[in-house]
């Protein structure tokens, strides 16, 4: 990592902490406080930053280093065999008078090996319009991403609070085998909101705006060689070009909002709400031949979508006991259009351009997600966990259709999970151990492809098999922390290891190790 970025990270983290007006060095906390926050304040499940007004009035920061490794053959077609991630993160909640502040900075470096075909940073980003090649050459996708998140909330009138939050991801991804893409990715989310509180009732509303941009430049470094680039249009349809380089730009704009209604007492906090989002994305292509001065630029496709989400998050506490129930239902609808176009001579001088003849709707998908999670907490002290028990259920379904040729794919899965974590306190030292299991059951699956081609064999069918296979997994984790007297409040380290196995005996192992300090 860039040394200056690391120094800036540390300076920012320490500065945020030093500007806090409330010192919480006498409040005992652990790294789990960051997971506890949304149990203590269910408003953090919403997109309304004004809800930070209900945060517990503590100032706490975390600086951590993480290493994560995933490998195994139970994966989607364009996932790598192995994924290694290193990331540095600093997160901070701060209270300044009545103003609540949140900030987070992350640096992530990852290497994904043998991710074949994909030219996209995230080939499963909910778009059928992907760019691939067919060179399976043990590629390594090298990614470096920075994330900056921040939020502020403050009262501005009697009973009213306002808030605004910003999330920004920027990064670069690149492969090391021809045709090698370089992906410049930018994602920005902005959410301003307001909150009205009267007694135990709260009503909030916020707007959401997101902009996503992925700029892909793919080059063939080997001289005088060309490769075929395939532009996918859904299921097993595609167009292709043979060239020494290819250029694609994705631009997605999301606009919407959310409304919330909450009840807040000393022992009972509940919030329910609904969100609507509208999505518009274009994929644009340009192809520049190696030594030619011309380029053929064209619009490839357009995605329109909307998504609905309704949710409820409730926390009930009685003394040291906390019960937290969270439920949400999300449905995403997407309609994809291909741009009909042709290469034509324009004008008298022989310039050649792609000329658009209009969009044609070809692809549609519906995706639904139902999640219900229950968490039971037995606290040792206000912010120190003793026992955590989690139960969860997730039902996910996807339906895709393509017209002419007619094709469709659908599946539905239900996943149950449970985990338990116990903490042991020995003076300044704390030991935590935990374990969990999950099981996924496929409820239905249909794949009706129009024709057998290489996309069906290498992408569509393997991904369908992955999504419709039953699977189960387990994990265990262990953590250690010790209270410190100088500069930092607590040092911690932990690890988690686990595996998933499908019914056809494919496996995926994951391992995570982390360490950090609380201050």
């Amino acid at each position: 990592m860039n040394r200056s970025a690391l120094i800036c990270t540390l300076v920012i983290s320490l500065s945020v902490h030093s500007f806090a007006q409330q010192s919480d060095t006498l409040v005992k906390t652990s790294q789990d406080i960051f997971e506890l926050m949304d149990i203590l304040n269910p408003w953090l499940h919403t997109e309304n930053p004004a809800g930070m007004q209900f945060n517990p009035g503590i100032s706490i920061s975390n600086l951590s280093l993480n290493f994560n490794r995933i490998d195994g053959d139970y994966r989607r077609a364009m996932d790598g065999d192995t994924l290694q991630k290193y990331f540095l993160n600093t997160t901070s909640y701060t209270t300044v008078g009545k103003t609540m502040l949140f900030g987070s900075f992350s640096y992530k470096k990852s290497y994904e090996r043998n991710c074949n075909f994909t030219q996209l940073n995230d080939p499963y980003r909910q778009t059928p319009y992907r760019l691939i090649d067919t060179m399976q050459r043990d590629d390594v996708y090298d990614r470096e991403f920075f994330n900056l998140r921040g939020g502020i909330s403050s009262p501005f009138a009697r009973n009213f609070s306002w808030g605004i939050s910003l999330n920004m991801d920027v990064g670069l991804a690149a492969q090391d085998r021809d045709p090698r893409p370089r992906n410049k990715v930018l994602n920005m989310d902005l959410a301003p909101g307001i909150l009205f509180t009267s007694g135990i009732l709260s009503i909030g509303i916020n707007m959401q705006y997101s902009y996503y941009n992925e700029d892909i430049e793919s080059d063939v470094i080997e001289k005088n060689v060309q490769h075929a680039f395939f532009q996918l249009h859904g299921l097993d349809t595609y167009t292709r070009h043979v060239a020494a380089s290819f250029y694609r730009l994705y631009e997605r704009t999301t606009l919407g909002g959310e409304g919330q209604f909450g009840l807040n007492t000393n022992h009972f906090k509940s919030i329910m709400g609904g969100q609507i989002l509208f999505v518009d994305e274009m994929a644009k292509d340009g192809r520049k031949a190696g030594d030619a001065s011309w380029s053929y630029l064209k619009d490839d496709s357009r995605l329109l979508g909307n998504s609905y989400r309704v949710f409820n998050a409730t926390t009930f506490n009685h003394g040291r006991y906390y019960h937290h129930l969270k439920a949400s239902y999300t449905s995403n609808y997407i309609l994809g259009s291909e741009i009909i176009q042709r290469l034509e001579q324009v004008g008298m001088k022989g310039a050649v351009n792609w000329v658009d003849y209009g969009p044609e709707e070809k692809y549609g998908s519906t995706q639904t997600d139902l999640k219900i999670n229950y968490t039971f907490l037995l606290m040792k002290e206000k912010y120190l966990e003793n026992l955590v028990l989690r139960l969860g259920m997730n039902q996910h379904s996807l339906e895709e259709i393509y017209r002419l040729p007619d094709m469709e794919q659908s599946f539905s899965n239900r996943t149950f999970s449970t985990s338990v974590q116990r903490s042991f306190y020995m003076g300044r030292h704390t030991l935590a151990i935990g374990a969990g299991v999950s099981t996924r059951k496929n409820l239905s699956g249909t794949l009706d492809a129009a024709r057998e081609n290489f996309l069906t064999r290498y992408l569509v069918q393997p991904d369908f098999n992955y999504h419709t296979s039953d699977a189960s997994g387990f994990w265990f984790d262990a953590g250690y922390s010790v209270e410190l007297n100088r500069l930092f409040d607590k040092f911690y380290a932990g690890l988690r290891a686990g595996a998933y196995r499908s019914e056809d005996q494919k496996e995926r192992q994951h391992f995570n190790i982390n360490t950090g300090v609380i201050f």
Binding site: N224, V242, Y333, I340
Partner: protein
């Protein structure tokens, strides 16, 4: 809460896609008897998505395609029949834009076949170990497709003027002639170069062993030291190799005269073989007296070669998208072909084998390169397969 779950989507995730019916009529010559109009093979190809539908014409010569998505298509018609001891090949080609129900006709012409065919055309070039382009190994192989001995004397290799990057400038001539940027002729006075039935001759850019590690390229797919002929361009400053084993082609016309004949490696060079009547001197006189200029270029002269003199032709294009800039008229080549793997791939296009009679290979010649040629094959001069 129940009401919220029942909310419909603003975006209807079921695509409202259009589909149309395309009805095509094969527009035959008057000479084609009624009883032979049915059964013509019609290939309806989407030019953007690389898929096609195949159907056969009815008794009245028409065919219908249903459930066609909007876009740009080509219709290729291929038909053969025997009548009174003669074999006739018919070809038709047309571009069809589908944005509504289509009723259209495709002109079908009767094309002739001759004893000679272009059997193999290697233009894509290859790479050296250093990753540089090596195109000295380009060649054209012409084959005696008849059952009798033929003489290669006087056969001209003709390269079309256009590189198929734009509309054919010479479309106004296509009923009578093609326009060439290069005409090179096999020497001889009529019986110097016999070619047995089922045998071939190779006209190489350079008639050397291109696989030689010092003078050639060890990665080259071909050894052309046995080439019967080569394109040799004499210049005072040198440049082109004069292989002693290969007889030099006679240079009749070379508009953009460079240091050697170089075919466009991406597929821009459509070629033909022709027999201009007369002696070598008369052929030169014909070429000198049949030249034409473009309005946009006052100092370049191109050769006019009548369609009647053409023995065989291959419409080679860059790729599927550039096929809309087809140059050769239907009667010479109703289709097109190309090396899909692209330039520097070391691959070529080669004619399909139609039949083998007593060890003699007869190559398919319907005057439609879509039907007649294989794409992306390893060049193998003189090898019949």
């Amino acid at each position: 809460m129940t009401v919220l779950f029942a909310l419909p989507s603003c975006i209807e995730p079921v695509p409202d896609s259009n589909s149309y019916t395309v009805h095509l009529l094969a527009d035959y010559d008057e000479d084609v008897p009624e009883e032979f109009k049915d059964g013509a093979k019609v290939v309806f190809s989407n030019l953007t998505k690389n898929y096609s539908f195949t159907a056969y014409t009815s008794d009245s010569g028409d065919v219908t395609f249903e459930q066609i998505e909007p876009g740009f298509y080509s219709a290729t018609i291929v038909h053969s029949f025997s009548n009174e001891g003669n074999v006739y090949h018919l070809n038709g080609y047309g571009l069809v834009d589908v944005f509504d129900t289509v009723e259209d006709s495709v002109e079908v012409v009767t094309s002739k076949t001759t004893a000679w065919v272009i059997k193999q055309y290697y233009y894509s070039a290859c790479l050296t170990p250093a990753g540089k382009q090596y195109s000295d190994d380009q060649f054209v192989e012409i084959h005696n497709n008849s059952e009798m001995i033929q003489y290669a004397d006087g056969i001209s290799i003709v390269e079309h003027e256009s590189y198929s990057l734009e509309e054919n400038y010479w479309k106004f001539l296509e009923d009578s002639a093609i326009v060439a940027r290069m005409i090179m002729t096999i020497p001889g006075d009529g019986d110097d170069y016999p070619v047995q039935a089922g045998e071939s001759v190779v006209i190489a850019r350079d008639g050397i062993n291109h696989q030689d590690p010092i003078y050639g390229n060890p990665l080259c797919p071909v050894n052309l030291e046995d080439a019967e002929f080569e394109f040799y361009i004499f210049r005072e400053t040198g440049g082109d190799m004069d292989a002693l084993g290969a007889d030099n082609m006679v240079e009749n016309l070379f508009t953009f005269r460079g240091s050697d004949v170089v075919f466009h490696t991406r597929g821009g060079s459509a070629i033909a073989i022709a027999m201009i009547p007369g002696t070598q001197e008369e052929k030169q006189e014909f070429v000198d007296n049949h030249q034409i200029q473009k309005i946009t270029s006052s100092d370049r002269y191109y050769g006019i070669v009548p369609n009647d003199y053409i023995l065989d032709a291959v419409e080679v294009t860059w790729d599927e998208e550039h096929a809309i800039y087809k140059r050769l008229p239907l009667e010479l080549d109703a289709g097109y072909t190309y090396v899909d793997a692209g330039s520097r791939s070391g691959l070529c296009v080669r004619r399909k084998v139609d039949t083998i009679i007593d060890g003699r290979y007869i190559y398919k010649d319907t005057n439609n390169s879509i039907e007649d040629f294989l794409k992306d094959v390893v060049p193998k001069p003189w090898i019949n397969e």
